[in-house]
């Protein structure tokens, strides 16, 4: 795996992400500064990590989405390259037009920093092949603006095309408004683009990968990606 982790001013989860990529793939990812106009040659995974790019000024992810490196990412994604966008990365991907919709202020206005439960809706994507469809995973979340919304047509299309990949659910996997922590439409926590090569999600799978720290439910995503890339190679 030749992963590139984007770094913007104000991002703070890039090291967690790099550590996880190194741990699970065995390869050192390249950190790519936001003013770079090219991705390293041979990059087979771009990760847009979490944090608070540009202090969340204007709108979360808005300024980072317009930085030079994002032009390169758009070109890379248009050619089918894999992009994983987590938390602020998801906000950046939406603002950059890589994914539809917007992450709005959490319905109950509070910043949420705790473990939540996700149902993996599909296992036949490059990002989720390490899980079973319907599996419930426990991962941390940390955001104030994770309330996913889009117009009714877009939501209908996402649902109809099976592009909702993760949903906030109760520990037993049931839909329950009490567990839809940020009030997202249809409890959407993660979606893919129409080609299936860009995943955006609010929770942080990269923080649950080591038994010494806690649950390891996040491993499946990265292990699955490594497998998907090995198969493609």
């Amino acid at each position: 795996m030749k992963a590139a982790v984007l770094v913007f001013p104000g991002i703070n989860r890039e090291r967690d992400m790099a550590r996880t990529l190194r741990l699970i793939s065995g390869h050192e990812p390249t950190m790519v500064w936001h003013t770079d106009t090219d991705l390293p040659s041979g990059t087979d995974l771009v990760v847009i990590p979490g944090g608070f790019s540009y202090g969340d000024y204007l709108r979360c992810g808005a300024i980072a989405a317009r930085s030079p490196v994002m032009d390169a990412v758009r070109g890379y994604a248009a050619k089918g390259g894999l992009v994983l966008a987590v938390c602020n990365g998801f906000q950046i991907a939406c603002e950059a037009g890589l994914l539809p919709g917007v992450l709005m202020r959490n319905e109950r206005l509070k910043f949420i920093c705790r473990d939540i439960f996700l149902r993996v809706e599909r296992s036949d994507t490059a990002f989720t092949r390490g899980y079973n469809a319907g599996q419930v995973i426990r991962v941390p979340t940390a955001h104030g603006e994770g309330n996913y919304i889009a117009d009714a047509d877009t939501i209908a299309r996402l649902e109809g095309e099976g592009r909702v990949i993760f949903r906030y659910v109760a520990p037993d996997g049931a839909r329950d408004p009490a567990f839809n922590v940020n009030g997202s439409t249809n409890a959407i926590a993660g979606i893919i683009n129409d080609r299936g090569n860009v995943l955006g999600m609010m929770p942080h799978p990269e923080n649950h990968v080591e038994a010494a720290i806690g649950p390891t439910d996040g491993r499946g995503l990265f292990a699955g990606l490594v497998e998907a890339l090995d198969r493609a190679a």
Binding site: L58, I63, G101
Partner: protein, 80 residues
């Protein structure tokens, strides 16, 4: 030249911050407010004196970054 870009949420888009402000007004005893929607105002100084050019420039700015047109509307006013 002075100009103002006003960005507001499209109708139908949930506005948790507006709702909280609405609640705060009520708890302050300010009766008669039926709803609040929060938006943004950008006061911008433009070089030169061409109004049409300024308007075109600000529309571009609003489309490119000041507003997210998925959820927001904007209005450009060149104040002169």
């Amino acid at each position: 030249m002075k100009a103002r870009v006003t960005v507001t949420l499209k109708s139908g888009i949930l506005d948790p911050q507006g709702k909280a402000i609405e609640g705060a007004l009520r708890s302050l005893g300010l009766a008669g407010v039926s709803s609040v929607r929060q938006g943004k105002v950008f006061d911008i100084e433009i070089e030169g004196g061409d109004r049409a050019q300024a308007e075109a420039l600000l529309k571009q700015a609003a489309d490119k970054i000041l507003a997210n047109t998925v959820i927001e509307n904007y209005r450009v006013d060149v104040l002169g």
